[in-house]
């Protein structure tokens, strides 16, 4: 199936002996000039790139305290060295978080510190050379910006911040990554990652309405560009057609239907994902975010709710107020934005939704905490709500639920292996190997408790798992959307009579 070795899933996660340069060959395709320029970057590697790169680094460390503090503070204690899924899966020492940081730090030291300027050998400082740039391109595209290392570092050094800065510097000298930059260019132009224009989107949603009608006998709407609706739903565009994402979208629509909500999607802001974060570009991230502001104003909505997507929720929860706020024109009774899980859980607690969890009895579920949700956002009003609320929902709508081992969930969760702008076929080896720790944890509950499915609330996780599960002897349909579970178990009160019997039983 693959032209590389697929890691073995062992019972206990082992720290591999180092294999130097094991992944030195891994490099994503380079972005074409057209897309670079659409994002405001040089089309190709500029002539004086060494100078520009060093200057850009200087600029960034003056704009981001995280970068300045993290570059100075690492003591090389080694606590993070065994925490990265890419290191555990590939054994390449440059995938140890501190070693990844050092790729940038050694240049910082050379140009911006006394010790590095005068005693480069002593502190491992090096000049900005083509070799260094190539190494950056390779290894800063082997970090999914999952922040697991930052949980374990005594100073909270977050390698994601370093990767973002490195990618921003590479973009600034004209060396961008194809996958991310093409996608961002599409969002700027059309409004979503897929480049799906309004008519195609309208068509897709109409198709969904028919499908759900056939299935349930109920007219469940998927409204688009409805002015004056209460809720603007912003969801990852993968929800419009990919499996199992679309089942999640159907689930949201059923929940909105059942709660009698007035809601709409927007064709202008038809994307929750924001790849501007992955490339560390504040400006691009801001530009993408402001589409949501514009859509919310034009549609005159009162609230904004985000669909299931990990990094999108990070940008939404943690950054949207900064990038596109203030939200003083929306209803102050609701946080801006909200997560669909917050909405559903709230409706469940208020008794607005009735379920028949036996609809999900053919499955035993476990839940994958997406890194950006777990370690970079929150749901509800208490710390840790982002971990509890999705589980509470699943346990409400399913009878069989088991957690994976403690050290692989919650704040310690392992990335799916495809986050951070790496969800592209040209990085397949990395994606498969990086998924190993999660797959091993999954296998342990499959073996021990007969778990059959893995639920997630992230478009990237879902796509990644659908792709990598088969490499580890599972099937691609074992990954499900949380709102798919919700939708399947939800009892629609206006369903035709045959279902009414079920409902009566339940009450």
């Amino acid at each position: 199936m693959a032209d590389f070795d697929i890691p073995e899933l062992k019972e206990t996660l082992e720290i591999p002996p180092l294999k130097e340069d094991a992944m030195a060959h891994s490099k994503p395709y380079v972005a074409k000039a057209e897309f670079q320029e659409a994002l405001g970057f040089p089309g190709e590697l500029i002539d004086n790139w060494e100078d520009v790169a060093v200057k850009k680094l200087g600029e960034l460390k003056g704009k981001f305290r995280s970068l300045q503090v993290f570059l100075d503070s690492c003591v090389k204690c080694g606590a993070c060295t065994d925490k990265c899924h890419y290191f555990l899966g590939t054994a390449d020492p440059k995938n140890m978080p501190v070693a990844r940081q050092d790729l940038l730090r050694k240049v910082y030291r050379r140009y911006y510190t006394f010790a590095g300027r005068f005693f480069p050998k002593l502190v491992g400082a090096v000049d900005m050379t083509r070799e260094v740039l190539d190494e950056w391109y390779s290894y800063f595209h082997q970090c999914s910006q999952c922040r697991r290392c930052s949980v374990y570092c005594p100073y909270g050094i977050d390698t994601a911040e370093i990767s973002m800065a490195a990618r921003e510097i590479m973009d600034a000298v004209g060396l961008g990554q194809k996958y991310c930059n093409e996608i961002i260019a599409k969002v700027h132009k059309i409004g979503n990652n897929l480049g799906l224009p309004e008519p195609a989107l309208a068509d897709t949603l109409e198709g969904l309405e028919e499908e759900v009608k056939d299935d349930t006998g109920v007219d469940i709407k998927f409204p688009l560009d409805v002015k004056g609706a209460d809720i603007l739903l912003v969801t990852p565009s993968a929800d419009f057609f990919a499996e199992p994402h679309v089942d999640g979208l159907i689930g949201y629509a059923k929940v909105f239907h059942e709660t009698g909500a007035s809601w709409t999607l927007s064709s202008y802001a038809s994307e929750a994902a924001n790849f501007g974060m992955f490339i560390g570009s504040y400006e691009n991230m801001r530009r993408v975010s402001r589409r949501i502001r514009k859509a919310a104003k034009e549609l005159g909505v009162k609230r904004i709710i985000f669909g299931e997507c990990g990094h999108a929720w990070r940008v939404a929860y943690s950054f949207l107020n900064t990038l596109a706020g203030p939200w003083d024109f929306l209803d102050p009774n609701y946080p801006v934005p909200q997560h669909i899980c917050e909405y559903t859980w709230d409706a469940i607690q208020k008794g607005k939704l009735k379920f028949d969890p036996s609809e999900n009895d053919h499955m035993t579920l476990t839940f994958h905490d997406s890194c950006n949700v777990a370690r970079a956002s929150r749901m509800g009003d208490k710390p840790g709500g982002q971990l509890e609320i999705p589980r509470n929902i699943i346990k409400t709508v399913c009878n069989n639920y088991v957690d994976m081992p403690e050290n692989t969930i919650g704040e310690a969760t392992f990335c799916c292996g495809g986050g951070g702008g790496l969800l592209t076929d040209d990085l397949m080896e990395l994606r498969v190997k990086g998924a190993m720790p999660r797959m091993a944890a999954y296998k342990s509950v499959v073996d021990e408790y007969g778990v059959t499915n893995l639920a997630a609330i992230c478009a990237i996780c879902k796509t990644q798992f659908a792709k990598v599960l088969p490499y580890y002897g599972f099937t691609m349909d074992q990954i499900v959307s949380v709102h798919q579970l919700v939708g399947d178990a939800l009892i629609l009160s206006d369903a035709p009579s045959e279902d009414a019997g079920d409902e009566a039983d339940d009450e």
Binding site: L18, R65, Q68, T81, K83, D158, E283, F319, A374, A376
Partner: protein, 247 residues
């Protein structure tokens, strides 16, 4: 007055100046560099008090390190806590009369040196024996441990092996504090100890020892989780907003 006393006096003035200006400059840079986005490592406290507690757990208990690796935590925590005790004990050479609490910790402070020694040896050992840590170690990391170990060993041999004229040493430092140079015992052990300490002060602001001020400025640890409730915006980012009217 021996030339040696003058040289050491000047050395300590210079080292202290470099330390204060160097670290002060870095703290100034950290403080004035904006953190444009909310990036606390979640789950994070939702109040400022919560953040103070989180930071206290990090600085006093090395909480994240404890989660991470028990050996590094054990050696690292032992070394640091012992070092703080030893440093506190050293206040007796600069105060007259000696503060009551410095007297109180005197007996513990004396033996804390063994904790430092053990901690440092443990940390240094890992740099040789653990493959991953060997890989990330630069010569400067070895030198830093050697320097600290040098300070500890020369210090211990004065406490436990051959005493120096401590009254004279105290007089020397009390003198420096008031701007007068007084004689220092010409005891090789002491001179070595003091030279290494001065070196430590000098390299502090240009080395990884910046983790000490750095930890307090780490946005992943010192930010409140309140992004939805309160708009957080850096001055340079606010300019982008201002440049666009409307919307």
């Amino acid at each position: 007055m021996s030339a040696l006393s003058v040289i050491y006096a000047l050395l300590f003035y210079a080292a202290t100046l470099i330390f204060l200006v160097g670290v002060g400059r870095k703290i100034w840079i950290y403080a004035k560099t904006p953190a444009p986005l909310k990036i606390p490592t979640m789950p994070a406290p939702v109040t400022q008090t919560g953040v103070v507690l989180r930071m206290a757990r990090e600085v006093v208990l090395f909480a994240s390190l404890f989660k991470s690796n028990k050996w590094i935590w054990l050696f690292g925590w032992l070394f640091h806590m012992a070092m703080f005790l030893v440093l506190a004990r050293h206040l007796r050479y600069f105060t007259d009369p000696v503060w009551w609490w410095v007297n109180l910790i005197q007996p513990f402070g004396k033996y804390a040196a063994f904790g430092m020694l053990l901690g440092l040896l443990g940390l240094w050992g890992r740099r040789f024996f653990v493959e991953r840590i060997r890989y990330i170690t630069s010569p400067s990391d070895h030198l830093m441990l050697a320097l600290l170990l040098g300070i500890v060993i020369t210090g211990m041999s004065m406490t436990f092996v051959s005493h120096t004229d401590i009254v004279m040493v105290k007089d020397f430092f009390r003198g420096l504090m008031t701007g007068s140079i007084r004689p220092l015992p010409d005891d090789l052990n002491l001179l070595l100890h003091l030279a290494l300490v001065a070196t430590l002060l000098i390299v502090f602001p240009i080395s990884k020892l910046l983790h000490a001020p750095g930890v307090f400025f780490s946005p992943t640890r010192n930010q409140v989780d309140n992004a939805r409730e309160k708009r957080h915006i850096a001055p340079w980012a606010a300019e982008l907003d201002a440049a666009e009217s409307g919307n």
